[in-house]
């Protein structure tokens, strides 16, 4: 069944881990150009949701769709449409930042020139002199920037982010927010799991609150300010 209108969609998506129901029938639609921020405590089911969209785990029931294709049955095809930045970007330590980017870009089907690759790294905030050093000597923030460059260079229709600003300094975090807004304006659908309420309010089109595997609320950020969002979030967490 094809759902062309949504970049991401979850239909009654469930995931059971032995005795724990990690995701309790998630229903969600995200349109192209939308930034959806998912807030929730540790263990709320945010990463499980992302892993289901990535096809890293199979749903117990229900289905996840990327660009209208069911993830579980189109594993390779859907990965052409999505890019992913994990909380802690890990790269090949014996390769340089530039080589890592070249590897992931070429696997994604892009044959960039070294100059273009360097430009992506610089735009992601990595100094050019660092780009030719081995990643083994990088800080977490520097690796994160390479991860961002990998995602951007893929020109994906869907961007899945799992705590992407973790390890970034405030300036880099702000630059990252600008980048998300720019990608969004170009039509990229962004799904971001985060603990950062203020960042979610700043960049998000909508914010979802997940609690114990359930999407308990979805709010439009245009309708509320950061403090209201924080209060709502805390209320759910203590409910």
């Amino acid at each position: 069944m094809i759902h062309m209108e949504f970049a991401l969609e979850a239909r009654q998506l469930k995931k059971q881990y032995q005795d724990k129901l990690a995701l309790k029938g998630l229903n969600l639609q995200i349109e192209p150009g939308e930034i959806f921020c998912l807030l929730g405590q540790n263990g709320a089911g945010k990463s499980t949701t992302i892993n289901l969209f990535l096809g890293f785990i199979t749903p117990t029931s229900g289905a996840a769709y990327i660009n209208g294709l069911e993830v579980a049955t189109n594993q390779l095809k859907v990965k052409e449409y999505l890019a992913y930045i994990p909380e802690n970007v890990m790269l090949y330590p014996n390769l340089t930042g530039l080589e890592n980017l070249a590897l992931f870009s070429s696997l994604a089907g892009f044959d960039y020139s070294p100059e273009s690759l360097m430009q992506y790294l610089i735009e992601a905030g990595l100094p050019s002199e660092a780009a030719t050093r081995k990643v083994g000597a990088y800080s977490k923030g520097m690796r994160q920037k390479v991860g961002i460059a990998i995602a951007v260079a893929k020109r994906a229709k869907v961007l899945l982010l799992d705590e992407p600003t973790s390890g970034l300094d405030p300036k880099a975090s702000n630059e990252f927010s600008d980048l998300l807004l720019k990608l969004s304006s170009q039509g990229t659908a962004i799904f971001m799991a985060t603990h950062d309420i203020f960042r979610a309010k700043e960049v998000g089109t909508r914010v979802g609150i997940m609690h114990e595997g359930e999407l308990v609320d979805v709010l439009s950020t245009a309708d509320l300010n950061a403090n209201e969002l924080e209060n709502l979030y805390l209320n759910y967490m203590h409910a």
Binding site: N51, L54, F56, I57, T58, Q75, L76, K77, K79, E80, L82, A83, Y84, P86, N88, V89, M90, L91, Y92, P93, N94, L95, E99, L103, F104, S106, L107, A108, G109, K134, G147, I150, L160
Partner: protein, 460 residues
């Protein structure tokens, strides 16, 4: 396919930057080069020794010619003249010395009883046996698996442990493609090294360029595939690197040391070999008893075997050579059944090992290499049989002189038979081993594929 080669390219970049792996490959290369040097040097040493034996025989002949310029009783010559049965190494022996270090490759022979002479040189240096041969086949059979383990123990687990697998699998590539590319790259490195060393050894050892070239290279490739299949099977369990390393080393230990040791014990119990020493002692007792037996009784027994000499003069003297050589030969005849049984038991033991080597691929492969190089146990038994025939021909040569009492002149040395034996490779046995090896690869790789498909890949 393009993505496959992209992965190969970056495997190369990772490999190039990994000092540990470079050291491992370099050490294996050096071990291989030393193995080639060791094998060729050992074969050259044996060839030089064999060449020296010819000079020894010539020297011995010259001495006897000088001592008996007018000729003498052939019995004197038979007693004081020694010649050699020699087992020339096959041109492939430098690649797989096999049992050429523990079994004698020449036997000093006189006209006396044969059996004690055959096993005079059976004693071996136990330290030499303990150390074994460090030839190319040793490097390929025992050290190459360690190289493959070193390269493959973390083939999949490292991606999880260094955290790169999620980012990798978020690209449009499958896990089997990643594992396949990683295995292929490592195969290229290992097979490249194995084939390079093999070809170098063939050139260095000046081997005959026959069908064995393809068979050897095929065995090297299949044997490496077997260990890659083992590594793949363990990787398919999707455990951590430490577990994989310990498991693979355990398999290596089991297949190269534990099972061969157990096989050795089992075969020794199942197929005990009578000591050649016991055979020699029994023969010596018969020979020594010959001095005390009536000459007529001895000669009647001998003439029953060689009626063509029955019409020769009756022995009245206290000592004549023909009587002496007759009771020496009767000593050989007395233990003939034991000698045959000894050789048959050796071959039966070899056959038993051939049947059981399906339990240990390294034992099978070592057997293939030895069979191809003519350095295995059947080759040695063939050499013993050839030496026996040579001794027979020596007796046939000397008997007319002894029984017709013809003077042996210096000119007669030129007509004396000489021995030369080169064992033929047992290609059939090698091909059988190859088929078994192929079966092992298919079974282990198939098990790995099933396990890989059955076990759900965990990305993190």
């Amino acid at each position: 396919m393009k993505k496959f080669w992209i992965l190969i390219k970056y495997e190369w970049l990772n490999f190039r930057a990994d000092k540990g792996l470079l050291i491992l490959v370099t050490l294996t290369l050096l071990a291989g080069l030393y193995g080639i040097y060791y094998g060729t040097t050992e074969v050259q040493r044996q060839q030089q020794n064999i060449a020296g034996l010819e000079k020894l025989t010539e020297h011995n002949v010259e001495e006897l010619k000088a001592k008996y310029p007018e000729g003498t009783d052939a019995g004197d010559i038979g007693y004081y003249h020694s010649t050699f049965a020699v087992h020339h190494p096959d041109s492939w022996a430098s690649l797989a010395l096999g049992q050429r270090d523990v079994n004698p490759y020449y036997i000093k022979l006189r006209l006396l009883n044969l059996q004690s002479q055959l096993y005079d040189t059976e004693n071996i240096n136990p330290q030499k046996v303990l150390a074994g041969n460090f030839d190319l086949s040793f490097v390929l059979v025992y050290l190459f698996p360690l190289l493959i383990i070193g390269l493959c123990f973390n083939i999949l687990s490292i991606e999880k442990e260094q955290g790169t697998l999620p980012l990798l699998l978020s690209q449009p590539i499958s896990l089997p493609l990643i594992v396949g590319a990683k295995l292929t790259f490592r195969m290229l490195v290992v097979l490249g090294l194995g084939l390079l060393l093999s070809i170098l050894a063939m050139i260095w050892g000046k081997v005959l360029p026959d069908g064995r070239v393809a068979l050897w290279l095929g065995v090297v490739m299949l044997y490496c595939f077997f260990w890659f299949a083992v590594a793949f099977l363990v990787a398919a369990l999707q455990k951590n690197s430490a577990f994989n390393a310990v498991t693979l080393l355990g398999v290596w230990l089991l297949l190269t040391i534990v099972i061969p040791a157990l096989l050795n014990v089992y075969v020794s119990i199942k197929q005990p070999i009578p000591q050649a020493l016991a055979l020699t002692i029994q023969q010596r007792e018969v020979v020594h008893g010959g001095w005390d037996k009536p000459k007529r009784e001895t000669m009647d027994k001998f003439f029953a075997l060689y009626p063509q000499w029955r019409d020769t003069t009756e022995i009245k003297e206290r000592f004549v050579w023909r009587w002496y050589y007759a009771f020496h030969h009767l000593g050989d005849v007395a233990v003939q059944d034991l000698a045959t049984q000894y050789k048959q038991t050796l071959l039966a033991r070899h056959e038993l090992v051939q049947k059981l080597n399906v339990l240990s691929v390294p034992v099978n492969v070592q057997g293939i290499f030895n069979a191809m190089a003519g350095s295995d146990l059947p080759s040695y038994v063939q050499f013993l049989q050839s030496a026996t025939r040579y001794h027979d021909s020596l007796r046939e040569f000397y008997y007319p002189f002894l029984f017709r009492q013809i003077t042996f002149t210096p000119a007669d040395f030129a007509r004396e038979p000489r021995h030369s034996f080169s064992s033929a490779p047992d290609v059939d046995s090698a091909v059988n081993g190859f088929v078994k090896l192929l079966g092992s690869v298919v079974v282990v790789f198939g098990a790995g594929l099933l396990l890989f498909r059955w076990k759900t890949a965990s990305v993190k």
